[in-house]
Amino acid sequence: MRRIAVTVAAALVLLFAGSQPSPQARAADSRDPIEDLLAEDCVDGTAMAIAQAASRLPQEGGVASDEWPPHAIGGVIPPIRSVSDPFPTFDGIALDTENDRVILSDENRHSLLVYARSAGGSSSDPTEPVQWVFGPKTRLGYIAGVEVDPKRREFYTVNNDSGDLMTVFSYDDHGNVQPRRTLSLPHQSWDVSLAPRRDEIVISVQQSNALSFYKRGATGTAAPIRTIRGLATELEDPHGTFFDEAHNEIITANHGNWTQIRPYTPYDPIVTDVGEYKSGAFHPSAITFHAADASGDVSPLRTIEGDLTGLNWPMGIDVDLTHDEIAVANYGDSSVRIFRRGDKGSVQPVRVLRGALTQIVGPVSVAIDTKHDELWVANYGDHTAVVFPRTASGNVRPKRTIRNAPKDTPTCGFTNASAAAYDSKRDEILVPN
């Protein structure tokens, strides 16, 4: 508790630093207020580190100054209540059975957590990651999909919001480290899948309803080598995607929302030749299969779509090439649905994992481990990843659980929330994601 008190006190002092004397004046006065505070009786490393880091920040002319805005009421004011989740939340997942690791993206704290493949159990305590990439140097934002390259011992993630980057890290990276390489992507890219033989990656892009392909080692502002996009593609708010080199197909989970994309940012002109207007549409969720060499506005080879599928906001997917099956994280009804890879149309899944015993809550990604005959599910709604026998079905308990927070820790469920309203009738705060 003392550590927290000191840390907060140091931060508050720093916020007032803009109104403190200049560095030159400070040098003449040996009694630095931060040092004074920390020197009193409770100095610790954390508080000192924060104080030192903040003292290096520019302090003049910014909004931190007490002089701005002049004559205004208010200022540095603490909230009376604050709602946030201090723990990671799992989003994407990638499994490396060669090196026995599993990599999970954390959208809430903007980090990547790496665990031993055999990690987890029945403990109520958080599971310790073997590697944790976390901090401002990493350039991780609101990240979503994850991919792994076992041969090169690298893993990839995609900033779905804030940053528009794919970042690549090594198995040797830990803590606040720069990515080994970065690639600029379209805004709202969601997932990444690697094709080792082709040496390509495919990226799903929500807002442009597209699949963009790049060379595996592409960096900087390299352009896609081809893109599948257009009304005929039936790509509609695409999320999870899988590059199936064995069958030369790209398999993609779609939410079903569609709208035309036009220039919208503050850097684009007001008048642009945008072609014929097409209105927005709501379609059922679907899994689309496109030829891996396709480019442009091309129809899918087949789709899995319809009432029998039970698809409901499908997120991440994985493909079991040994047993010819597709697993889908079905966020909308907190289930995992397994289809035959060759299915088409309105078909029932061959298996469904769903129910209270499964502990599947808001699943966002899945991974199939044919080597150890397991199925992994990353829960966005429950601070857990749960592991089942590969062929598990129905309302069954997981074999083991990986936790990123103590058992029963709530989740707020935010994903870069940016608006609010107050419901005066119910005395509630409304927040869209």
């Binding site: 805005p69 208010g74 709602v83 502002t221 927005g280 929330a417 419901d423 409304l430």
Partner: protein, 304 residues
């Protein structure tokens, strides 16, 4: 939906989500209609505006959906509701427009009015509210070159390519990377949530093609939720007749706002509370002075 008194790491009381709702996971606006007890939501990735019963929970379909070729909607970002004049307003950065519909509009319907064009100065419109008492529409719009970044006030019945009657923006305002605006109906005070005093980062792509001349930013030139105190965001408050390059009359800044990012702002006028949302959290501030008539710039702004 969270209880007003929620504090700490808490789960929402209820959630509207799932395929049948027609929502998506990309929604940047919300409005509550207290008279008709409805929630209005823009769905950017569906080119639609949806209306739900305010007590909805779970996977429920909307009461009404505005979507289709007549609407001209592309990517509606933010919404407001005028329960007095029975209108729903939305701002669509892809249309570069503020679009007004009948409150009860449903399906493929044409808007009643559209504010758009060079004279309006509107571009990336990310905040919107309407004041039926003073008969104004307030829009927050951003332009990458720094020109016309701020708060635009239009007559409520404005239509077409019309100039705003007031504009708050300029270097003294420090307005740059902001989002939601909301109006206190009693005073007309305008509240704005700003994430950062640096302009929103340029996106690397235009549609599905890399942006010509785009350069990756330096490592330390990071995005809106960076830890830099000198560019941190805030909640700013302006008087209803404010105009020009002026600083806010009232402000909330500090570590609390920096944590939240201040992208959204909502008011509980009865309890004199301000809710700031951003990043992955929200915070509530108790500030009765912000709900009084604010004095003109240059005065001490001390309340009577």
């Amino acid at each position: 939906m969270f209880a007003r008194l929620a504090n700490g790491n808490v789960a929402p009381k209820r959630v509207i989500e799932g395929q049948a709702t027609n929502l998506s996971r990309t929604m940047h606006g919300i409005a509550y209609d207290a008279i008709h007890d409805e929630i209005v939501i823009p769905v950017a990735l569906g080119g639609a505006v949806l209306v739900f019963k305010a007590d909805a929970a779970g996977e429920v379909p909307p009461l009404r959906a505005i979507q289709g070729t007549r609407t001209r909607l592309v990517r509606p970002h933010t919404v407001a509701v005028d329960p007095v004049n029975n209108e729903i307003l939305t701002a669509d950065p892809s249309m570069r427009a503020v679009v007004v519909f009948e409150r009860t509009a449903n399906g493929n319907v044409a808007p009643k009015r559209v504010i758009s064009g060079p004279a309006t100065g509107l571009l990336d419109i990310v905040g919107l509210d309407v004041d039926p008492i003073r008969n104004v529409i307030v829009a927050a719009s951003r332009k990458g070159n720094g020109d016309k970044v701020g708060i635009f006030v239009f007559d409520r019945l404005a239509n077409g390519d019309v100039a705003p009657k007031q504009f708050i923006g300029g270097p003294n305002s420090k307005l740059a990377h902001f989002r939601q605006v909301t109006i206190d109906p009693a005073t007309g005070n305008i509240f704005l949530a700003q994430q950062n005093t640096r302009m929103k980062q340029m996106e690397a792509y235009v549609l599905d093609k890399p942006r010509e001349g785009f350069k990756l930013k330096d490592e330390d030139d990071d995005d809106s939720d960076s830890g830099r105190l000198d560019t941190m965001g805030f909640v700013a408050v302006y008087a209803p007749d404010d105009n020009g390059d002026i600083p806010p009359r009232a402000i909330i800044k500090g570590p609390g706002i920096r944590l939240a990012g201040a992208a959204g702002v909502a008011l509980n006028t009865k309890k004199k509370e301000i809710i700031a949302v951003g990043g992955n959290g929200f915070q509530t501030f108790l500030l009765p002075d912000f709900f009084r008539a604010l004095k003109k710039p240059g005065s001490t702004n001390q309340q009577p």
